[in-house]
Symmetry: C2
Subunit: 381 residues, 2 copies
């Protein structure tokens, strides 16, 4: 029976970043995941977009998003320096294009909301939009430019984090884990091959599957539900098509196109489909391509690379669950829904602080896991 | 230096079927291909459709198609018996659905053309269409039912042919080959690793790449040009969506959906794109999905499996090149364009007959490779 200070259940970017930060603070750590990085960390588009992902009524979440976005450039640079691996951080900004006049009016409202929060954004005309991004469709009436909404290549990020934790001495165990509880406190995990690992603390970072991890008492199971996310990857044969991330709402459907430095483009959309199925639907791929082509027609010439579908962990208030639970030794770092990549640095800092008795970033305090009563979330899930 | 009676350059279904038939007739044979079955044999949808692939002005080609279709059931049964492997031959027939009234009128004309050729087909109303295939879109005005247009699973066919030739003692060599000529006659091939193989006859069955095979004298290079073909494969989660192959022309774009016995559906279209690029374009995938969903809306729920793009060998008259050339020992079996899977049995029979001095099927005589003067096809290709 081996023992570490902390075991992280889940080897996506959040779980790995937690283990990395913990190891940097002198803790021994292990990460357990049957297939690290095969979930939402892989499917994500890597947008770091507190401004264009801002929703009315989510001010506290905005504060957390903003704080993590502010950490990102340093986090990326530190990770690249530690590993020698690129993570594709790009700071070109994001354009939220309007589809029609009504849409343009709502972007004006969003711009005003940005101003009240001290967020920098500006409106550009259709002509200015085409000057900034000549590949956008003619006739779009205008856009909101969010210069501080950046991006990272989430797949490169995961590769770099895996290298970083390994060189920091973290054991990455390819197995499924259930929680072991003894005397009312978390004491480690049981692997699916029967092996027991012991730890002072266990952090649940299993994304959409966090609620399915066996051994967590019913009243502490995290209030996450799986929400499907899907991205396509294409590559333009003639070089970069876009400089900035372009987002739009086409006839009511949100779509985004994220240009990678290497020429790849990631196409995705908001989706509200729930459930554990991850097979990409032909109809969803059709709709994604239709909407992306409407905004950036030149994507029609791009070469198809792949489709990726995974599950994001949604929560009742769309905010993550970050922090200690009512069980000693059991912490949560899940429920990041649309913002998993963005919230990786601050989540890792917050959990590492809790594990070492340091001060937790203030913006994270509102996202303690205990804020949903188990009863309110409902049984039978 | 090894020697065989015949070397077939090209390990798609046609090349393999030729080698199989040659071996059955007592000849020693080898097949040379850098990656057997990676071209049009893999991308094809496997429709065996002389009636719904009938074009005015292609009566001779129809005769060849019909003759090969008539061979297919026996060919498939023989191959399954020889190998114990399934090839997915299905005889449920094909529906060519009309999109609008004008389209319905042209299907009536095709039906009359069928009658003059003694081909069985019948018109069905929109209501009858929905009774036959409830998953077709409501509102389609009618269809032509071609009961004798069948299908085969082309990927299973290739696997079975590979097993058949191997158990018949045919050597399948994974290499690129150029033609060796000595004293004015074909004497074998030179492999890209420098090895020389000798043979009494060399059969060019390289599909769209047949014209690129080095060593063929300019005046004998086959008049084939690459024409892109693309298919999508999806799988319906709730079981079979269609019983028959459904074809349509949606707003001028031909599309087809071929239901496999295992629940897979193959979606494809006619394409006239030429050139050697085989990367699937995002725009082409969008158009395919759009047109297929218009005819069979339920496909939207199907799970995406894969996209496949390859090159078909087009010819000036859309007919294949089957037979001896003006060079002793050099034969052609290429240029099958849209009908490569369909024409596999008759092409193999014709080439095997030529190799053994037996009678060539009469319908194949019109497709001798010499019918295009090199000058007429043009230099510089």
């Amino acid at each position: 029976m081996t023992g570490t200070d902390v075991i992280v259940v889940g080897g996506g970017v959040i779980g790995l970043a937690i283990a990395w930060r913990a190891a940097q603070r002198g803790l021994s750590a292990a990460v357990v995941d049957p297939d690290p990085g095969s979930g939402a960390s892989r499917t994500a588009a890597g947008m770091l977009a507190p401004a264009t992902e801002l929703y009315y009524g989510e001010r506290e979440l905005y504060g957390l998003n903003r704080a993590s976005a502010d950490l990102y450039e340093g986090f990326a640079a530190e990770l690249e320096a530690a590993t020698g691996l690129p993570v594709g951080y790009r700071a070109e900004g994001t354009l939220l294009t309007a589809w029609d006049a009504a849409d343009l009016a709502s972007l004006h409202d969003l711009h005003i909301f940005h101003s009240t929060l001290g967020l920098s954004s500006s409106m550009v005309t259709g002509r200015e939009l085409r000057a900034l991004e000549p590949a956008t469709a003619p006739g779009l009436p205008g856009a909101l430019l969010a210069p501080d909404d950046h991006q990272i290549d989430n797949r490169l990020l995961h590769i770099a984090l895996l290298a970083a934790v390994r060189s920091a001495g973290v054991d990455v165990v390819a197995a499924r884990a259930s929680l072991r509880v003894s005397g009312g406190r978390a004491v480690g995990v049981l692997l699916d091959d029967g092996q027991e690992l012991s730890a002072g603390s266990v952090v649940i970072a299993g994304g959409a599957w966090s609620r399915q991890i066996a051994g967590i008492p019913e009243e502490l199971r995290p209030a996450v539900r799986p929400v499907k996310g899907q991205t396509l990857r294409v590559r333009a044969p003639g070089g970069p098509v876009l400089t900035r991330t372009v987002r739009a709402k086409v006839r009511g459907n949100a779509v985004y196109v994220v240009p990678r430095a290497g020429g790849e483009l990631v196409i995705g959309a908001s989706s509200e489909e729930t459930g554990f199925g991850v097979e990409p639907r032909a109809g969803a791929i059709h709709d994604l391509l239709r909407d992306a082509l409407a905004v950036v027609p030149e994507l029609g010439e791009a070469h198809w690379e792949s489709v990726s579908t995974s599950l994001r962990p949604g929560t009742p208030d769309n905010g993550p669950l970050i922090g200690a639970t009512d069980m000693e030794g059991l912490l949560m770092a899940t429920g990041h829904y649309r913002n998993g990549i963005l919230l990786t640095p601050i989540t890792a800092d917050a959990i590492a602080a809790l594990l070492t008795g340091a001060a937790v970033p203030e913006t994270a305090l509102a996202f303690a896991p205990g804020r949903f009563a188990a009863a309110a979330f409902g049984a039978g899930r």
